[in-house]
Amino acid sequence: MLRNQLTRRIGVPLAALAMSILGVVAVAPGSPAGASTSYQSAHAGGTLKLLATQGSGTLDPQVNYTLQYWQLYQATYDGLVSFQKVSDAASFQVVPDLAVAMPKVTNGGKTYTFVLRKGIKFSNGAPVTVNDVRSSLQRIFKVSNPNSGSWYNVIVGGPACVTTPATCTLNGGVVVNAATNTVTINLITPDAEFLDQLAVPFGSILPSTAPTKDAGSVPIPGTGAYKFKSYNSSTGIVMVRNPYFKVWSAAAQPQGYPNEIDMNFGATVESEVTAVQNGQGDWVYDPLPSDRLQALSTTYAKQLHVHSLTANWYLPMNVNIAPFNNLKARQALNYAIDKNAAIKLFGGKLLADPTCTILPPGFPGHVPYCAYNKGSGSTYNGPDLAKAKALVAASGTKGDAVAIVVINDSVNSAVGQYVQSVLNSIGYKATVKPLSSNIQFTYIQNTKNKVQISLSQWYQDYPAASDFVKVLLSCSEFHPASDNSINMSGFCNKSLDAKMNTAETLELTNPTAANALWGQIDQQMMSKYAPWVPLFNPKQLDFVSKRVGNYQFSRQFYMYVDQLWVK
């Protein structure tokens, strides 16, 4: 995804899947930890006030692909499985949620059988049934989920649903039995990441009465501890307690603390920071403005929380239109950009690390490597402007006009201006096109807009190499003339696609070899094709108000908003 959208996983879940394929039934952890332990009712109550400059589009959990709302979905929606609601690394573990236990995996990894919990109700009072599960999985296709063609088309009947979403039945792919309360999902091929994909908000179980198109600003009932009371993309979101919620698994969906969670839009990030300093707000969603960081890190140090992320800020270049349909032009920009300079605009070297690879450090498959560097070495040393200028001259693209499309907040705009300056310095005529975050992400995906280069961010959906490499740069993710074409570079290489498929297959049996292959693909992608300029791996800096307690950070979904204490 981006920060205004999310990403994926590996490690423990892959191991669990490998065991499952061998016929072992994984079960839920006996005693949940972290966020899930010992609910302290003395801290329950109050209104948590979250602040964001603007909304992030639709509220539909099967459509929205933004961190901003995915953080809220953790407390409002559940899937059959979900990521464990605990702090740090254990938060990557998938646990049963609406399912009684982890699924029984049979048929060589192609059949998953879930038993649905009984007695759970949606926030509108309707009970959760196996029919809701089936309709929710069908709905993923009907609403043209951004990843329906890359994640969920592995379900039997999925390819037909991708082709004709309106008539999607997943016949033979999802089989339910109301008598035994079971849901059987049949896959076309084994998929090491299928449970992760079910555990993200796209896999939310919604009432079968939910609209079969993007619900937009109309909240859909969920099963979480909270429900959306109202949503206006211009003014904000109000979440209140779900009156039908009872804890069935604290590891999957713990009870929340605030009685109400508000996310207000419309203020500038500067005034958001001031509001949190003054106790008028509790948390700032947006990247903190650089001119406030110094004061915050001295006077408000106790209210700051910093965490490393598996994420990338990068410049996707459109490989299908000039000038970046020319490899030398793409390589030139890779040589020219000073990633350390860009980091200064993000808040300094304590808040981000320069990167040359598609996979973030610490991620499965990541290998330290830097194809475009000053001098040699696997770690980034700095830009090489001479090489960049020579490549531009050799490419024959010198003098071309280039527009950089960025989000119009202060940090993104500043990085955009820096990139503009670099492009001008190596011979292009660059302009910056700032757009609201409500539309920038879809705008830069749609080939109709002829975007040459943009500034984008990718934050893991779950920790698996494919989430960066395959999701962002495979042929299956390039959909011309669509707002859902996450492969913004429009990069499609059949040979690399075949390697990605091999790596995915290897994940089932030999994760180590699979990761090594993902690392090779990453290096080959950058050295031979350079569809991006990777800029830096950011860290998450959360600024909370003085009254907020119980800050907990998930590697998967970041700060748990519903676990914060405001009293």
């Binding site: 001119d291 960081l293 110094q294 001295t298 140090a301 200064k344 300094g348 500043a414």
Partner: protein, 309 residues
């Protein structure tokens, strides 16, 4: 005279922007300088300085050095010399303000003369166009035009103006103000047309061109001259507002509005980035207004309130 002096001083200073940037400060006002350093009091100092206190987060541009040739007003978040950009920005703001005022007054004069003198269909068409333009709040109209044209540029037949060109804000601002000058001029022409000397010229068989250029225009000219400095001030303010909203002058070009916008993100640490262009706008617009009043008084000392917009 004081107002004229201020205007001349500002104009001269801004015209000398390249001299200051290239020959005195030795800076490039339009290129990011995130890794730049300067020599200050014998020490090498980074233009963007990393925080060393507390948790150490944040990078802050260097503040005013008050050394005239060395980042006098400090740097912006791209590490660019604020004073150099202030001078370049003044050039853009004054250029847009004055050029758009001239275009506005020229177009308004032609339309006002034509509508007032010929009357009939021409008057009806021109007046309705004025009505339509006047019906929109002026900033809303300017913002709407800017958003559209700055995205795709202006392409009318063989005329192509790029999205980043200064011509776009000039034309947009000129056009939205035309009715504000054209309407009063039309009224004056209507009045002049009934005067004896014009009627005498018509009666003697003089051509329309002769009557307009020799009889009416000279009598309208003082009003136009009074309008001009006032429109420069108005248009400067409009340009600054549009640029502040990122829909006027486009980066890396500077105008006083864009510099205020740049300074918005630095208000807490480097307030001079926003304050300095603000002072420039207030000083210049104030001086132009006083100058406009002076010119009006010089032409028509008995009607001090007439002609104000």
């Amino acid at each position: 005279m004081a107002a004229l002096g201020v205007v001349l001083f500002v104009v001269t200073a801004c015209l000398l922007a390249p001299v200051y940037a290239h020959d005195l400060a030795h800076v490039d006002a339009f290129t990011s300088n995130l890794n730049g350093t300067i020599r200050l009091n014998g020490r090498t100092v980074s233009v963007l300085q990393a925080n060393t206190q507390g948790l150490g987060f944040g990078v802050t541009p260097i503040g005013p050095t008050w050394h005239f040739t060395n980042y006098f007003l400090g740097a912006d978040n791209q590490g660019r010399d604020v004073f150099a950009r202030l001078l370049y920005g003044g050039r853009a703001t004054l250029l847009i303000g004055s050029t758009s005022a001239i275009i506005c007054c020229l177009v308004a004069t032609v339309l006002g003369l034509a509508a007032g003198y010929f009357g009939g269909v021409i008057d009806w068409v021109v007046s309705r166009v004025f009505d339509i333009v006047w019906a929109f709040p002026i900033y809303l109209l300017a913002i709407s035009l800017s958003v559209i044209l700055l995205t795709s540029g202006l392409n009318i037949g063989p005329l192509h103006i790029g999205a980043g060109s200064l011509l776009l804000p000039i034309l947009i601002i000129a056009m939205v103000f035309v009715p504000y000058v054209g309407r009063p001029l039309r009224g004056i022409v209507l009045s002049l047309k009934e005067r004896e000397f014009v009627q005498a010229a018509i009666g003697s068989g003089a051509s329309d061109w002769h009557i307009i250029t020799k009889e009416i225009l000279p009598n309208v000219a003082p009003t136009i001259i009074v309008f001009l400095p006032l429109m420069v001030a108005f248009n400067m303010l409009t340009e600054s507002a549009l640029s502040f909203l990122s829909i006027g002058v486009q980066p890396p070009n500077a105008s006083w509005g864009t510099i205020i916008n740049d300074g918005l993100g630095l208000l807490y640490t480097r307030p001079w980035v926003a304050i300095a262009p603000g002072i420039g706008i207030v000083l210049t617009a104030g001086a132009l207004n006083v100058l406009g009043d002076g010119v009006r008084d010089a032409f028509d000392p008995k009607a001090r309130l007439r002609g104000s917009i």
